[in-house]
């Protein structure tokens, strides 16, 4: 499956909202990221000229923050915590298992754009270690069984059913 065509109209709406306001770059990018699942590289020039910035500056911000991506991510972004607490509690095994289950390496996206696998340094929920996030949902006290069941919830056919 190909990533969706960029909805230029929507993109322009988001950009117009922040026109001329240099400080609005990050909220703007967040909205673009949220809406499209990534910041389309084609949008960099448009954003830059609307905010009176150089395109290279916009790219600099996009590439600096891990919250922004220049490539489309999957519908569900799986973030497995590798922070100290989770690491000690077996986070490494959880990651290994996630890799096996999804068939993805870290920072890879499945060809059907269903999943993107990422690691994160801490989710701030150490009492639930080992933890992970799927988009905005937290999952704690993970075990192999729980990982399987969590993933099952988001597997394509299940979701569509």
């Amino acid at each position: 499956m190909e990533p969706k065509e960029i909805d230029w109209e929507r993109l322009n709406l988001i950009i117009d909202k922040n026109k001329g306001e240099k400080w609005g770059l990050i909220p703007l990018l967040q909205e673009v990221q949220e809406t499209f699942g990534y910041v389309p590289p084609e949008s960099i020039d448009l954003i830059a000229s609307a905010l009176g910035l150089f395109p290279s500056q916009v790219q600099g911000v996009v590439t600096f923050y891990s919250g922004f991506a220049l490539k489309p991510k999957g519908k569900y972004v799986l973030r497995v915590c590798q922070g100290t607490a989770c690491y000690v509690k077996g986070g490494r095994s959880i990651l290994r298992m996630m890799k096996k289950e999804t068939g993805l390496e870290v920072n890879e996206t499945s060809p059907d754009y269903q999943f993107t696998l990422e690691t994160v340094a801490c989710l701030g929920a150490c009492f639930l270690a080992p933890t992970m996030m799927v988009n905005r949902a937290y999952f704690g006290k993970l075990s192999p069984a729980k990982v399987t069941s969590v993933l099952a919830q988001y597997k394509k056919d299940e979701v569509e059913r």
Binding site: I44, D45, S49, F54, P55, S56, Q57, G60, T63, F64
Partner: protein, 898 residues
């Protein structure tokens, strides 16, 4: 800043200027408010090592090498971003500071490739220098080379980011000084690097290859490419750039009598600061090409053969004198050079006027619209001459009219972009979208050659809005009421029709200018067009009306294409004026020179450049002396010019390079490039800049002033000048505006001596308004339905004789594709890579094509200077700046797809 009144300011603290006392390394020092600790130290001779600091850039605090220790708190602070505060006490080299500094450098070096031996930065690498000073050889750390992409696809520079220390100087120079925005930091942590948008190679980014970053890079991460020399030059010699009229200060890197590198000079208060353009940085390759002329040549039996200086000068002198004796002074003419020095131009016209009794003297400045400027100069009576480019950044509003500055005079464009970045309203008036448009508050896309109508329309609108500066007009001008009446009678609907600019746009522009004193930047689009003189008059009227004169950051900034265009005119290398721009028909001025030169001077104006060609065609002109110009490439209708000059009995060409013109010469005299001689150039600001030779001339070539000095002797001059000092002495005595030329080093300013009150301290005459003129709408002829606009590209200067000899420039910009609007592109059924033939009433060119989506339908842009400057085939050899001449900037053409 007010000078301190207290002698014991150090002890008591200075209350007058808010001076700050602090202690650095136990020594009490004083610094102005707002200074950083680093600046305070530097001002007091205390050296702190830095990598990311540059005086021309905002402080950044990236490299952390400038750490100092606060004696009171023990804190370590980066001194470049720490403001000096009263009673502060810092140590710049305490054991803790040294330990940290060493560690920072060790870490940088652990990440740095060990390629010093082949690195072009050589001994100038600041990282290596600082490591040496801190005694770091082996780092004792595990090497972690940070391999990154090596980029060298473009012909100008190599980017080896594995040597990058992330000081950000390149990025900051790009954003703050050049305002190109080609690069910024990308990614973070170990991955962090300066990158272009979408990580494209530089040539596909907005990089202009000005090389400013390259000169600033503290390591070898950015290096020039295709240099025949890699390493550290023997010495660096300050000089002045010989390309455009900005007159940038250069530092020429010399190795064994060859110029191997060019960088911006590190001097203070230079025109260009730390910036340069692609020509200044890279196109000086022409200095070392094999096509340099190295020995005198004489045509014998149709063949050019080497000759001794004596023989060549004898031939030149005797033949010229013979022609002049036989056919009179009107049969000889002298074409001087807007690229040669003031001293040379002075001597050149003196030879013509004194020894050959002719006023037929001109220079290449004619090509850039000098004749249109002359009436304006008369109007101000020589006032308003000195105008510092730095003032542009202080302007209240800027109008750029007919000037594609990002291409023609890039260093001026940096200042304009910086001003726009700070919020100064910038209006671009141009038929084409130029590099400046993106930075402008607005662009008025007018039809070609309708600037006059637009400016009058703008003036009329301002008058209707009662936005004139009444105090100014009452005090300094005369005839404002009549001018106002004429403006009020203007039909603004007609203005809209003629110019193609909507009334709303015109109104918006007028609002930007309301109540402001405005800086007008005027370029070739006005100076070389049909209504050049009238447009300049209208612009000057607008200046007067808005009170935009008499102070910095306002008035007419007339751009000069050639480095010494202003100086050649000042030195009298023109057919109608003596040195100091003193009119030939002014008998007092003439008598002064007649006395000094002990010769009689004819009051009749001589032939200008175009008339020289016409008279050669008619057979009336028989001998021509050309110094440092290439009319066969620079003039319109080159074939016609060639035929005309071939008719001459005798032609001497004094030049540095083999050109189209040296090919038809009878005697060729090898001159010296600016880097090989001493002299002075006057830039477009009116700044007279001196320079000394960096290297000797190649082979037997001689500095041009020496050649002229020898020639004058052979032509019967009683004595030689023998030295630049004596030459300058004579100029200083006879030309009041060049009274400072005796200085001989650094820079001095042209002295203005206008009788107008506006340009004097008190008293004096008022400046009058010029009559308001109007132009009619022009239709396109059926046989030539498109309009060609000729323009420059930043890689070349003028006709491209010198820049065309740079291999790097040729490699980068060679196809010179003509640009068409998307509508015309479709209408002619063009595909990428197609070639077209453009034909005008005068000639034709064949070029590749490119689609320019910003171009207005019906316009075709043809870049000049490439392909032996064949673009000149299209325009007719009409005199420039005359009321009935169609100008050289545009012409009607038809297009055939090939």
């Amino acid at each position: 800043m007010i000078p301190c009144l207290f002698q014991d300011c150090l002890a008591k603290g200075c209350f007058l200027n808010g001076h700050i006392n602090l202690s650095i390394d136990g020594k009490t020092v004083i610094c102005p408010p707002g200074a950083s600790v680093l600046e305070a130290a530097e001002e007091n001779g205390i050296k702190i090592p830095t990598l990311c600091h540059h005086s021309g850039l905002e402080p950044f605090g990236a490299c952390r090498l400038c750490l100092v220790e606060d004696e009171n708190t023990g804190r370590l602070m980066a001194s470049c971003v720490t403001p000096a505060a009263p009673d502060m006490a810092v140590l710049t080299a305490s054991p803790r500071v040294i330990k940290h500094r060493r560690n920072i450098v060790r870490l940088m070096m652990a990440e740095h490739p060990e390629s010093c031996i082949v690195c072009s930065k050589g001994n100038r690498c600041q990282l290596r220098r600082i490591a040496a000073q801190l005694g770091i050889g082996e780092t004792g750390l595990y090497p972690m080379p940070n391999y990154k992409a090596y980029e060298q696809a473009n012909p100008f520079m190599v980017r080896d980011l594995s040597k990058c220390v992330l000081c950000g100087k390149c990025i900051r120079a790009d954003h703050e000084l050049v305002v190109a925005g080609a690069i910024d930091y990308s990614h973070r942590g170990f991955e962090s690097r300066p990158a272009t948008v979408h990580e494209l190679p530089l040539e596909l980014s907005s990089c202009t290859f000005c090389g400013t970053c390259l000169s600033m890079c503290p390591t070898g991460a950015l290096a020039p490419k295709n240099n025949m020399f890699v390493g550290t030059p023997d010495r660096e010699i300050p000089t002045v750039c010989g390309f455009c009229g900005v007159g940038c200060s250069l530092s020429m890197g010399v190795f064994s009598d060859t110029v191997v590198e060019v960088n911006p000079s590190r001097g203070k208060n230079t025109v260009n600061g730390s910036t340069l353009c692609v020509r200044g940085h890279f196109a000086h390759d022409f200095l070392n090409v094999s096509q340099r002329l190295t020995r005198p040549l004489i045509r014998r039996d149709g063949q050019m053969s080497p000759a001794s200086w004596d023989e060549a000068l004898d031939t030149a002198a005797t033949r010229f004198l013979a022609v002049q004796k036989e056919s009179g002074p009107s049969s000889v003419a002298f074409l001087g050079s807007s690229k040669c020095t003031n001293e040379e131009n002075y001597l050149f016209q003196k030879i013509a006027r004194v020894l050959l009794k002719t006023n037929s003297v001109d220079n290449g400045g004619y090509l850039s619209g000098r004749s249109a400027l002359a009436p304006l100069y008369k109007r101000t009576n020589g006032g308003d001459r000195v105008r510092s480019l730095a003032g542009l950044e202080k302007a209240e509003a800027i109008v750029v009219i007919g000037a594609d500055v990002t291409e023609t005079l890039p260093v001026v464009s940096y200042g304009l972009k910086r001003a726009a970045q700070k919020g100064t309203p910038l209006i671009v008036i141009d038929p084409r979208q130029t590099g400046l448009s993106a930075h402008a508050s607005m662009r008025l896309p007018l039809k070609p050659q309708t600037d006059l109508e637009l400016i009058n329309g703008l003036s009329a609108l301002l008058v209707r809005k009662k936005a004139q500066n009444a105090i100014f007009t009452d005090h300094f001008t005369k005839g404002f009421e009549a001018f106002k009446e004429a403006l009020l009678k203007l039909d603004l609907e007609k203005t809209g029709r003629v110019t193609g600019v909507t009334p709303e746009a015109l109104d918006e522009a007028a609002e930007y200018l309301r109540g402001k004193s405005v800086a007008f930047v005027v370029g070739g689009g006005v100076l070389e067009q049909r209504y050049a003189a009238l447009t300049l008059d209208a612009l000057f009227n607008l200046c007067l009306m808005t009170g935009s004169l008499g102070h910095a950051g306002a008035g007419l900034y007339v751009l000069a294409q050639e480095n010494n265009q202003a100086g050649a005119w000042d030195m009298g290398t023109v057919p109608d004026a003596l040195p100091g721009r003193q009119p030939l028909n002014d008998s007092l001025a003439r008598e002064k020179f007649e006395r000094a030169w002990q010769a009689s001077i004819s009051p009749d104006r001589g032939l200008d450049l175009i008339r020289m060609i016409e008279e050669a065609e008619k057979g009336n002109l028989k001998a021509l002396y050309v110094m440092g110009e290439n009319p066969l490439r620079a003039l319109p209708q080159p074939d016609r010019v060639k035929r005309a000059l071939e008719k001459l009995d005798f032609i001497v060409v004094q030049d540095i390079l083999k050109t189209e013109t040296t090919e038809i010469a009878d005697v060729v005299l090898p001159g010296a490039a600016f880097s090989e001689k001493g002299g002075s150039f006057t830039n477009l600001e009116g700044r007279i800049q001196f320079f000394n030779p960096a290297v000797p001339p190649p082979g037997e070539a001689k500095p041009d002033w020496e050649i002229l000095d020898l020639l004058a002797r052979k032509m019967g001059s009683p004595r030689r000048f023998g030295s630049l000092e004596r030459l300058r002495g004579e100029i200083a005595g006879l030309v009041p505006m060049y009274a400072g030329i005796n200085e001989g080093s650094g820079a001095v300013w042209v002295v203005e001596a206008s009788d107008k009150e506006l340009f004097k301290n008190e008293g004096g005459a008022r400046v009058s308004f010029a009559p308001v003129s109007s132009i009619e709408e022009e239709g396109q002829s059926d046989s030539y339905p498109l309009t060609v606009i000729l323009g420059s590209v930043r890689f070349h200067l003028g006709s491209g004789t010198r820049t065309g000899y740079s291999g790097r420039v040729r490699e980068f910009h060679q196809n010179g594709a003509v640009e068409l609007s998307p509508q015309d592109w479709t209408a002619f059924g063009l595909q990428a890579g197609d070639s077209v033939k453009l034909t005008s009433a005068h000639g034709s060119v064949v070029r590749e094509t490119a689609k320019n989506s910003a171009l207005t339908q019906g316009l075709v842009f043809v870049p000049e200077a490439v392909h032996n400057n064949d673009a000149r085939n299209l325009i007719g050899l009409f005199p420039l700046g005359q009321p009935d001449s169609p100008g050289w900037k545009t012409c009607p053409v038809r297009l055939e797809k090939l």
